[in-house]
Amino acid sequence: MIASTLITGLGLGAMYGLLALGFHVTYAVSKTVNFSQGSSMMFGAVMGYTFGVTLGWPMPLAILAALVCCALLGLAIERFVVRPFVQRGSDLWLMATVAAGIMLENIVLFTFGKEPRSLPSAWADEAIEVFGAGAYPLQLAIPVVGIGIALLLTLVQTRTKIGKAMLATVQRSDAARLVGVNTRTVIAASFAISTVFAGIAGLLIAPLFNVSASMGTIFGIKAFAAAILGGITSAWGVVIAGVLYGCIEALTTAYLGSSYTQIVSFSMVILVLVTVPNGLFGTAGLKKV
């Protein structure tokens, strides 16, 4: 039982981690969070289905096109939903991003249709045996992709010019502007990266689940829980917390029964926040007095 449960937990958890990484990227750069991450994930899956199945494009091209659409969505969210409020020093971007997610869901409901669809994938056709348990290759690929993206993000943040620009924007945005960093572009790029991560998560989960306008909501909520659990300031922290959250969900279901899953997993989030307010791997921000 343990092998099949951990395969389930790792797959789901890595997906929560990938979405949570999107929350981290925007928070790290601009101290804002895109609460429409769940809807962005759905958008990635829907665009992938539209290009790959409805229009019949080759799947690699369909995936690329879907991720470009996700990036454009992220830029639009930053420009029209977040920036106007941040410029006024208002925190209403929070509600605005929630509203944008609901709007997106309803637009997709009208255009894509009311019924869920199945996104075919050769990686989710036949199960293979891993440690005596059945698993689709795609389930094993999700943690690899999640950890790979976290690694890539860490390398970009620490080893590249744009990463250093992002770091400068976080630490002293005024000073960063003075030395020539275009902070506005950096923040916009962080939103585009965030929605691309959500799109990747959507494209990975769709063949195992289905594609529908309402598919992202619950994932968005759980991913935010993972981001808080891990400490939203730490890239590795949110990914590890996502995997941890997924495994705890699966283990609770397997050993205590499905009636206890949500009770145990959300109790754990509350317990961690009470004992470690900045999350498992997060750091407290400096408060100047």
Partner: protein, 396 residues
């Protein structure tokens, strides 16, 4: 003289007022005669269960077309007014209030979702407007404890379905210790009670009761618990999405166990979503167009094709239960209004009890409703089916 003058003046005024009132009344009566009798429908018209709302709409529309072509009810045409409950009990109740209070519907029809119907039932009993259930099978919908009870149903009933599922599992699959996989909502609870009671009646144990959420991606942990507890058959009670996830997870586990299901998977694209295992599910239904030897089935399928050009074959009228239940329920409702000779709720309720016989699409109903029995379908009206290439086919 003066008194005569006043009397004649009063008489003239009274006569004029009387004529005016008579004229207004005549106008009102004429308007009433022309005004349609409004029938409300609250069902899932969007989301994963949208096909169920479409099926109920088609069945009701076909019946209403036939009734109106034959002169309507009480000399008035019937008009269908629909609202989307979005599978949400709160939205369903708001829609019920709006349809009854603002639109003035005479009878309200419900949809697929038991939780939505359960939210509406106390309200219709309180406001004394008849409610007809053409799909949701939760036992407490009709057996709601209200007196008087304004809720009627032409559909399956969970407590009877539970007996039928257990009988099927024992007689066909020789089940000794079945496991239960139920949706985590009031419909699942209703079936948990029904299945446990049916198993207890046969002196059988169960391997466990597991819950599936509407958005569960992977239900391997729940199924693994049932497998390790020795389940030899799975009773599945869930709508299309979660049922599909159960079948995908079974496929992933490589666990070849018989699945005997309530009719939840019939509400959408189950074949597409559940993958290769979809066709192995044995699913209870009250009606199918395919393999039906009742001549009315062919006749009504032809009528549906004429009314809805997008219907080309029996595969396009899946799920057929929604259409057939709604069609028969609408005709029975029209008979109840005719018996009542008014659109008054209590009179229509008595009108349902006064129906003697009706030759419907599912069967010939004899005295379908009594004050003690508000469900028109019984255990003999069920049939087991499989979903093959998008079409629901009877097994036997």
């Amino acid at each position: 003289m003066k008194s005569y003058g006043i009397r004649s003046l009063l008489t003239r005024r009274i006569a004029l007022a009387g004529m005016a009132a008579a004229g207004i009344l005549a106008c009102i009566n004429t308007a009433q005669a022309a005004d349609p009798i409004k029938i409300g429908l609250i069902a899932s018209l969007s989301g994963p269960s949208a096909k169920s709302g479409e099926a109920i709409t088609r069945g009701m529309t076909l019946a209403i077309t036939e009734i109106n072509d034959a002169g309507g009810v009480l000399g008035r045409p019937l008009e269908l007014i629909r609202r989307d409950d979005e599978a949400n009990p709160g939205k369903g109740l708001i829609a019920a209030r709006e349809l009854i209070q603002r639109e003035g519907v005479t009878v309200l029809f419900g949809g697929l979702q038991t939780p939505v119907s359960l939210a509406i039932v106390p309200y219709v009993n309180q406001i004394q407007v008849p409610f007809m259930g053409p799909w949701a099978a939760g036992t407490p919908i009709t057996k709601n404890g209200a007196d008087p009870n304004y809720v009627f149903r032409v559909s399956a009933v969970d407590e009877i379905v539970g007996v039928a599922l257990v009988d099927r599992a024992v007689s066909v699959h020789n089940a000794q210790k079945p496991g239960l996989m139920l949706i985590n909502n009031p419909w699942g609870e209703s079936n948990e009670k029904a299945l446990i009671a049916a198993l207890a009646a046969k002196g059988m144990p169960n391997a466990g009761i597991e819950k599936v959420e509407a958005k569960d991606v992977d239900v391997v942990p729940q199924l693994t618990r049932l497998k390790e507890a020795g389940a030899d058959t799975i009773f599945m009670v869930a709508n299309v999405g979660p049922s599909a996830q159960v079948m995908k997870s079974l496929e992933r586990m490589g666990w070849d166990v018989p699945v005997v299901s309530h009719w939840g998977p019939a509400g959408g694209r189950f074949s597409e979503l559940a993958g290769p295992r979809a066709k192995t599910v044995e699913m209870i239904q009250t009606f199918t167009f395919s393999g039906n030897d009742n001549p009315k089935a062919d006749e009504k399928l032809t009528a549906l094709k004429a009314l809805f050009p997008e219907i080309k074959s029996a595969a396009d009228v899946t799920p057929a239960v929604g259409i057939a239940n709604a069609y028969d329920a609408m005709h029975l409702t029209a008979l109840a209004i005719t018996n009542a000779e008014s659109t008054d709720g209590p009179a229509i309720r008595d009108g349902f009890y006064a129906i003697e016989s009706y030759d419907g699409m599912i069967k010939t109903y004899e005295k379908p409703f009594t004050p003690e029995q508000h469900d028109a379908l019984g255990p003999n009206d069920y049939v087991f089916t499989r979903f093959i290439d998008g079409e629901i086919i009877p097994i036997d």
